[in-house]
Amino acid sequence: MKKIEFLPLLLSALIMAVAVSCSDPKEEEFCQEFELVTNPSCEAPTVCCPEEGNCYYLATSTGKKYPCDASQATENDKNGCDKAENDYINENCDTTKMSVADRKSIKLELTAFTRKMMVKARNYSLCN
């Protein structure tokens, strides 16, 4: 077969290569995406679901149950739910993800520049 018969294919390949190489990259990839499913009650899982005399807190995102233990009830914790509530918060709430030790390590890791900015922010952020 004559080589010229491949010319249209080569031409198309060339145009396609140019078109693809000149197109902008997908900049959406740079986007820091997040799901906007907020859990405002996270810090206080007040809805305790009844179950066979006891009740449990339910993490809706994972489906995990945190059952109360009536046998551990005290005067201040009449349903024995303190442990379940604490476990729920520890595993599901952002505020507890950073421990006191973590906070201290961040404090130690602050750069000199950040410290300088901190002083400036403290001194110059208010008008009076």
């Binding site: 018969e5 198309s12 820091q32 009076n128």
Partner: protein
């Protein structure tokens, strides 16, 4: 009857024509799919604004300081935009803090940001958040917030009185209502631009809006 050579040739030619047609259609007839919103956004009282009030183009930026590409935008792209567009009064950037966390430290820090911006000088806090967003979890930062509340009644009322809470809640609700994907997202006039953009790309966008 067609011989084998002709069949191969017709096949190659047909494929070539199809590919060529697809390229032509894609290149010249399919417009960029930039999403548009139905109504233009307007500036709110607690917005953090970089630039003058009387500008030709308002860029609404949904961002937070925990987002690396938001910080990259402010560190690498914003200075050039400031030189060419903001200082000359052509453009202002209206930052709407948007984050997805029930974290109390973070929420407080964002409230401090909008309130200090409204009633004080936000420049240094902005630089502090850019340099180290995790600063909001430190006791030093908590002490500074307490000091702000003690020293400035307007800042205190803004932080503790619910105005900042309401503003941040509105930002998140607006973000959801516009069905935006994440941060940073820029809304200019009614067009939505997702993600971090290098200065050259951003310049093209700004020039387009300034000339149309």
């Amino acid at each position: 009857m067609l011989n084998k050579k002709k069949i191969v040739y017709i096949f190659i030619l047909t494929i070539s024509i199809i590919i060529f047609a697809i390229i032509v259609v894609k290149t010249f007839f399919v417009k960029d799919k930039i999403r548009q919103i139905e109504t233009e956004l307007s500036q709110r009282d607690l917005d953090i604004v970089f630039g003058n009030d009387s500008t030709l183009v308002s860029v609404f930026l949904y961002a937070n300081y925990g987002c690396p590409y938001c910080c990259k935008f402010f560190n690498e792209v914003y200075p050039a935009i400031e030189d060419e567009y903001i200082n000359s009064g052509k453009v202002k950037i209206i930052m709407r803090l948007t984050f997805n966390s029930a974290n109390q430290d973070l929420t407080t820090a964002m409230k401090v940001a909008v309130c200090v911006n409204k009633f004080g000088n936000y420049e240094y806090l902005h630089q502090l958040f850019l340099s180290q967003s995790n600063i909001v979890y430190t006791t030093d930062f908590h002490d500074m917030v307490d000091e702000f509340i003690d020293k400035d009644i307007q800042v205190a009322e803004c932080i503790l009185g619910g105005a900042a809470d309401e503003y941040i809640k509105d930002n998140i609700e607006e973000f959801e209502a516009l069905n935006l994907k994440g941060v940073p997202t820029f809304v200019i006039e009614s067009k939505i631009y997702y993600g971090f953009k290098e200065y050259d790309s951003f310049k093209k966008i700004l020039d387009y809006h300034l000339t149309h």
